[in-house]
């Protein structure tokens, strides 16, 4: 039995704007074992991205608990939280926007290493290794985000996420902004990394086919709630809930 890496307990997020409130995530619980890949699917606005931001503590949960390796990280802040980010990283939906437009890719990829107190020289070396690992050439370290294509930028974003050797990678629609061929390449890269580095994934995606290929377990979300969970084959071949059926039918 492998260890439980990440645990979410009754997560709830309510957004307040003026007098109206919106429950984006409503009582979501799940756990993720080491080396496992959990897919989260659902339509736009079902709370998938909010979950990603709650897990990485970029948003404060209204209620509930998040545990990483048994440690409660729900209310951590400052230095402690920053050390949590050495175990958990995230890849964003829009590759170009996830890099500072005024800094080079190398600078962005090496930022976490520099923050850990690693020397400039060593960081440079590591950045080049990471770029090669993610299928780019070392020259990309000196380029700016607007100078390269979306696919290349997403590879660089994955390189950045891997810089700290995390245990868990959260991919928030990491392939959605890319066209199909590039999507396939990125997915191949992630699969390769999964095997090479024994990474665990929370793979947020609206494309059921991708999830089926990549994930061990799937969470179907609808209006902030978990509709059902199971292996991809179970969900796709024998959906139990009405909403899951609709979701699968809409894929053609």
């Amino acid at each position: 039995m492998t260890e439980i890496l990440l645990e979410a307990e009754h997560l709830k997020k309510i957004f307040l704007s003026g007098k109206t409130s919106l429950t984006a995530v409503d009582d979501v619980s799940f756990s993720l074992r080491e080396g496992e890949c959990l897919g989260i699917v659902g339509e736009s606005g079902s709370g998938k991205s909010t979950i990603a931001r709650l897990l990485t503590r970029l948003l404060e949960p209204t209620e509930g608990k998040i545990r990483l390796l048994g440690e409660d990280i729900t209310h951590m802040s400052g230095k402690k939280l920053r050390s949590v980010y050495q175990k958990m990283q995230m890849v964003f939906q829009m590759p170009a926007e996830s890099f500072d437009p005024r800094r080079t890719l190398g600078n962005g990829i090496g930022e976490s290493l520099r923050n850990m107190g690693i020397s400039r020289k060593e960081t440079g070396k590591k950045v080049e290794e990471l770029l090669v690992l993610c299928g780019l050439t070392p020259e990309y370290a000196g380029r700016y985000p607007h100078e390269i294509s979306g696919g290349e930028c997403q590879r660089a974003a994955i390189a950045r996420a891997l810089a700290v050797d995390p245990l868990l990678l959260i991919c928030d629609e990491a392939t959605s902004a890319l066209d199909v061929t590039v999507q396939k390449q990125i997915l191949e890269l992630l699969t390769e990394l999964k095997e090479k580095k024994k990474l665990s994934f929370v793979f947020i995606c609206h494309d059921l086919a991708l999830v089926q290929r990549f994930c061990d377990r799937v969470l179907v979300m609808h209006q902030g709630k978990v509709e059902e969970t199971g292996t991809p084959d179970e969900i796709i071949n024998h959906p139990k809930r009405e909403y899951t059926k609709i979701l699968i039918d809409s894929v053609l």
Binding site: R82, Q89, F99, D100, R102, G108, S112, N115, E147
Partner: protein
């Protein structure tokens, strides 16, 4: 088709060169102005403070290109020496309010909440004050002088930068790259200084360069009213005030310092415009794509 493409690329290049040329031109003029102000004492053909009543009120001519004032002091020398007080006071003032305003604005935008509300209400109060009235009040309490004029203008002007920096910070705050930087373990000061500041510096720089001209005018205005530079010292505003009574008979006494103010303000305003054109992100991208 191919020819057409070539033509558009050429036109773009010309446009880019034009923008860069404009920037360099006004930058050179501004530097020239600063150099004049810096080496004013050596550039003066006459002693700007030496009175020579025999040559009083001479119209512009060969020996005195801009004429003399009613004490026979050379106007050209006085305009040159006056640039030091006018330009450097304005520069220093703009530098201080830019830094202070930006710092306050970034803190407000980033942290929000009570700090933001408090500091923004304070800035509202100063924004609501008419500048000149406040300067008069400060002069009344602290007395006249360049320093007090600068204090008055500084206290009145920082909220503009605070507001600008605040709104720019708010716009950057939720961006993906900042989230990514947070995930990379950057602390709040690092996020503010290394990521937000470079990304909001463009518009702030443009505003502050445009503000140099305004400050030159306002300082001259205060000196004109006798709240800035003390009389024997040459300063454009006070020189206009001196020459005002003789406007009918000796217009050069007003025209020389007035023209100097006009030129200095123009140069800094056009420099600000040129920087804005140059910094336009679309322009930048196009340039780098080539």
């Amino acid at each position: 088709m191919n020819k057409e493409k070539k033509v558009t690329i050429r036109r773009q290049k010309l446009r880019n060169n034009h923008i860069r040329g404009k920037l360099l031109f006004f930058l050179a003029l501004a530097v020239l102005l600063l150099m004049i102000a810096a080496f004013a004492e050596r550039l003066c053909p006459y002693d700007p403070y030496a009175q020579n009543l025999l040559e009083a009120q001479q119209p512009p001519g060969i020996s005195h290109p801009l004429g003399t004032d009613r004490y026979g002091r050379d106007m050209l020398s006085r305009v040159i020496i006056g640039s030091t007080a006018s330009i450097y006071a304005a520069l220093l003032l703009v530098a201080i309010i830019t830094v202070a305003g930006t710092a306050v604005g970034m803190v407000c935008g980033w942290f929000g909440g009570k700090v933001d509300a408090l500091l923004m209400r304070i800035s509202d109060i100063f924004l609501a004050f008419p500048g000149l009235v406040f300067a008069l009040a400060v002069a009344g309490v602290l007395g006249g002088g360049v320093q007090n004029a600068m204090i008055a203008l500084g206290v009145i002007s920082w909220p503009k930068f605070a507001r600008l920096a605040r709104s720019l910070t708010l716009a950057q705050k939720e961006s993906d790259y900042l989230m990514a930087a947070r995930l990379a373990g950057s602390s709040t000061p690092k996020l503010l200084i290394r990521h937000i500041l470079p990304n909001i510096a463009g518009p702030i720089l443009v505003t502050s360069v445009l503000d140099i001209g305004t400050m030159i005018m306002e300082l001259a205005g205060l000196s004109f009213l006798g709240l800035g530079v003390k009389p024997p010292m040459a300063e454009w505003g006070s020189m206009i005030s001196d020459g005002r009574v003789m406007l009918q008979t000796a217009p050069w006494m007003v025209l020389a310092p007035g023209g100097a103010i006009f030129i200095a303000v123009m140069i800094f305003n056009l420099l600000g415009d040129a920087i804005r054109d140059y910094m336009d992100p679309k322009q930048r991208n196009r340039e780098q794509c080539e």
